[in-house]
């Protein structure tokens, strides 16, 4: 007998499903403070700034592109625009630049930013709030969604930049530089303001850049 991977996968899932009971009737457990603290640390670490973690080459290149654009734009922009965005210095090497960011004064979230002009049908679905990190997830009934992450920047932020790959773009919105990536999966904006990093991740069908800018402007 010979089976395809799909058939074998289906069979494994069928058997495994039998082995685990349903827990729908059990009231929610109130997790201990110790557990919550440990999980908060874990989630905050996992939720750390994208350049705090190392994953695949593709991701490396994508974020490298973001920083490359950042460097290019900031090197060309006037100081009035540049100053509020990022503070950093660079060390140039043959094949890459080493970018070191200054620390901000913020040590914890003092004010939680929110999207105040949601698209029709959207509402806040989940919010996870920690001392240095908040994520708000907004969804509509069809589970199209967008998320807003607000984070106190990590200390000693540093990035190695591959300037050869740049498919990111930057926008100047209300005298602020916002880095963007628009592709078929959605729109991402990244910016830094008031000592916080922000990441707006929009996954809504047929959402235009102009729509995304309206969302960005409504964040208060």
């Amino acid at each position: 007998m010979t089976f395809s991977k799909e058939e074998i996968s289906k069979a494994f899932n069928e058997v495994l499903s039998e082995r685990v009971p349903a827990f729908s009737d059990i009231p929610d457990h109130v997790f201990s403070e110790h557990f919550e603290q440990r999980m908060n640390k874990l989630i905050e670490r996992e939720a750390a700034h994208p350049w705090d973690v190392s994953h695949t080459t593709t991701r490396n290149l994508l974020i490298a592109a973001l920083i490359a654009v950042l460097l290019m734009i900031l090197s060309l922009s006037v100081s009035g625009i540049r100053d509020p965005i990022f503070n950093f210095f660079t060390r140039h090497f043959d094949t890459y630049d080493d970018v070191v960011f200054d620390d901000t004064e913020k040590t914890e979230i003092e004010h939680v930013y929110e999207i105040t002009a949601l698209p029709e049908g959207f509402e806040l679905n989940q919010r996870m709030q920690y001392s240095t990190y908040v994520i708000s997830i907004y969804e509509d009934k069809s589970t199209q969604n967008m998320s807003l992450r607000q984070k106190v920047p990590s200390p000693n932020r540093e990035g190695i930049v591959d300037n050869e790959k740049t498919n990111m773009d930057s926008l100047e919105i209300d005298n602020k530089i916002v880095f963007s990536l628009v592709d078929k999966t959605g729109i991402i904006f990244a910016w830094e303001i008031d000592g916080y990093e922000f990441w707006l991740d929009i996954k809504i069908m047929d959402f235009t850049l102009e729509n995304a800018i309206q969302i960005y402007r409504s964040i208060k």
């Binding site: 827990f23 457990h29 996992e46 350049w51 000693n156």
Partner: protein, 182 residues
């Protein structure tokens, strides 16, 4: 100073998925671990350890699962194996597999019914396997994880995982034929 390579899109996806799994499944994961270990404190430790192991293994493995039941299979299998590893290391009683399956109304020793199809025979063969082998084969074949990844997820030694995969595949070959997988 730390030197990092940089990431964006997939990492953002991973983060959101991780958070969603945490919010949606932590109660069920806790309930399952508590049912197996009988202790809330241990169960919380297991839930934490499974989430930690998911990060170590790579959230992108879960990203590939597009069915909630299958996702729960993935998580619950990780929970169960973490419970077994924990119980062995800490000499804690764990609800035995047979005892546990009896609770669920599953009799692993029952003769297989007349096979209606080769697929049904495959299901019965997997059902008859010891979970020790079936679980690692599940991660190896279905999720195409290597022994190191499986070891991290299930809190096992990579050598033990390799041995279980080898023995599990041998069992499948004996029952289904040496070319059981295309």
């Amino acid at each position: 100073m730390l030197a990092f390579y940089l990431s964006l899109i997939e990492t953002q996806e991973d983060k959101r998925l991780f958070e969603k799994i945490y919010m949606d499944y932590r109660q069920n994961m806790f309930n399952y671990a508590k049912k197996l270990l009988g202790d809330e404190g241990y169960a919380e430790d297991i839930v934490h350890d499974v989430f930690l192991s998911i990060i170590k293994t790579g959230v992108d493995k879960i990203q590939e699962i597009d069915n909630e039941n299958h996702l729960w299979n993935y998580l619950s299998t990780a929970v169960r194996n973490q419970c077994i590893s924990f119980a062995k290391k800490h000499s804690v009683h764990i609800a035995q597999e047979k005892e546990y399956n009896d609770q669920l109304g599953i009799n692993l020793n029952e003769d297989s019914p007349l096979q209606e199809s080769s697929y049904q025979f495959l299901v019965e063969t997997i059902r008859d396997m010891k979970p020790t082998y079936a679980d690692v084969l599940y991660f190896s074949i279905v999720h195409e994880m290597n022994s190191v990844q499986i070891a991290k997820l299930l809190n096992l030694e990579p050598a033990a995982v390799r041995q279980r995969i080898s023995r599990g595949k041998k069992l499948l070959r004996e029952k289904l034929g040496k070319d059981f997988m295309k």
